[in-house]
Subunit: 315 residues, 2 copies
DNA sequence: TTGTATGCGTTATCAA
DNA sequence: TTGATAACGCATACAA
């Protein structure tokens, strides 16, 4: 018990005893067993994150934001990916509940019905980060994808584009993408602009996929003026395909993307996109969980980090 | 005890009892406490990974490879970043030792002297993945960065380039980059090609940094024929800068990069680079740890996953 | 096939 | 300021 105190609160131990303890610890190489500590105190220093995929760079900033905050407080980050499957997410959440983690961050906002049940039964704080949904399980830190879609539509309208294509990842199980698309379309409709069904595409992830999509648009509907992409690096693939075909951007085809990245800032021309503070989302989500697991803060958090339409030369 | 058995090995329990247990579990919402399980059995289902940075996409494939294998075996992945600081790495390792993780994967191959001590004292298996070093702490799964550098030098020589610049991230605390550079330079020297000191640059990470570097080379040494980049996306930044300046690639300047990425396959022209199976590195490292923590496999593993110089149109 | 006793290494609580 | 005791919830070993 005295050793335990010496490690957690050295001031509560006399300096003589403290010195003796430290010397023995050094000599025998004692390393406190945090598993036993967790069991005894029923406090966890683990936070779990479930993202749709680990392969994309999109989540790098989110992860870094979380990791930075957790490191400050001696918490550990556990990561897994769901592949946009609610079943895999549920299995992950079950595992995290069994491990009695201190909190869970879910990027998806669509879940198996058991997920809220499992988490609330275990009393585990949850933050959702994928979209600023109305009714989070517990807390939500994000921005409105729907508003972002509308803002991007407004930008394209302001630049005078009227014949517009929309290319995204499959919206099934991707509520964020669906919200963006809905916001985008609704704003266009307000100005009597309608995207024909054959120019609303759903494609796989990746640059090659973006290239194929823009090729399809160019081939089947050559009068299209602008293409809006929603999903990781699709627009970059499209830009490179236009370069290969000798099509000038934006005069021959304007392109924009829903998620900003370092790449879009550096291509020629650089690519208009929606910028959101992904590291801040991570940091705030993590901070809230740390606070909660220390008994601070309120259960329900709803934080809008906002976004910006970064107007670049591709539109 | 019977409940414990019913969950781990349902066949060892009579069907009547099993049914009763399952119904009660469902009714009361029982979730086994894995922390208590770990403490009791002194077996961990956690594997820790320390990468230099989480911000770059380079580690996404490594992480995915690890995660896929761990998921199959019910293991959990814990991640942190060291920022190429041996001190931060040591702190992380200390924390993982306290948590009695089942294994640790370190991407860096240069460590604080305490790191091997801590890990071996705790009996925690370690895999290093950054370079195929001669004397790993325990196991190593990687490829030879030195050989990769040499192979890339050979490629450039074969294409007839003789006035060559070398741009990398700072080599301090980055043994991999240093190994690549040494292998590269050594191979050039064999053909009596020498890179002048003023064309050996060390720059920060990022596309902007790559652009600045190539600008510096172009401005200060316009007769340079090729620039070799070592570090993430540097070459992409250089390519875009050349596009902005109207310099043709490869006739005006050839560029190549040490680490392949989706981006390099899609730019115009696409960029010659070294391809290595990063997901396989992760998968094998994870598998070895899983095996070890089950008492299988031998302590010392040394696996060379190899690499390929992918010759594209930028050289 | 089921159940009992015991211990894993901490921390909370209370006593000295 | 230090120490003794009990408890956290499971799994090991053994008994029935």
């Amino acid at each position: 018990m005295t050793v335990s105190r010496a490690l957690k609160d050295p001031d509560s131990v006399s300096s003589a005893v403290l010195a003796r303890i430290q010397s023995v610890i050094a000599r025998v190489g004692y390393v406190p067993n945090q598993v036993a500590g967790s069991l005894s105190s029923s406090k966890s220093t683990h936070v779990a994150l479930v993202v749709p995929s680990l392969r994309t760079a999109i989540f790098a900033e989110l992860i870094q934001g979380i990791s930075d905050v957790l490191k400050q407080h001696g918490f550990q980050l556990m990561i897994s990916d769901s592949g946009n499957s609610t079943q895999i997410e549920e299995a992950a959440v079950r595992g995290y509940a069994a491990q009695r983690v201190g909190g869970v961050i879910l990027h998806n906002t669509r879940h198996d019905e058991n997920v809220p049940r499992i988490l609330s039964a275990a009393g585990i704080p949850v933050v959702e980060t994928g979209d600023l949904i109305r009714k989070p399980i517990d807390a939500v830190v994000s921005f409105s994808n729907s508003a972002a879609g509308a803002a991007m539509a407004e930008h394209l309208l302001a630049r005078g584009y009227e014949r517009i294509a929309f290319v995204s990842l499959p919206v099934k199980n991707r509520e964020r993408v669906l919200a963006f698309r809905r916001g985008f379309m609704a704003r266009l409709r307000r100005d009597k602009v309608v995207v024909p069904a054959e120019l609303i595409l759903e494609v796989p992830t990746g640059m090659v996929s973006g290239a194929r999509a823009i090729a399809h648009v160019l081939d089947t509907s050559p009068t299209t003026q602008a293409t809006m992409f929603s999903g990781d690096v699709l627009a970059a693939g499209a830009l490179f395909e236009c370069q290969r075909r000798g099509i000038a951007i934006p005069s021959g085809m304007a392109i924009a993307n829903s998620d900003d990245s370092e790449l879009f800032q550096n291509t020629l021309p650089d690519i208009t996109s929606v910028r959101s503070p992904r590291d801040e989302i991570g940091a705030r989500a993590a901070q809230w969980i740390v606070d909660r697991s220390r008994g601070l803060g309120a259960p329900g958090l709803r934080h809008d980090v906002g976004f910006t339409v970064v107007e670049r030369h591709s539109t």
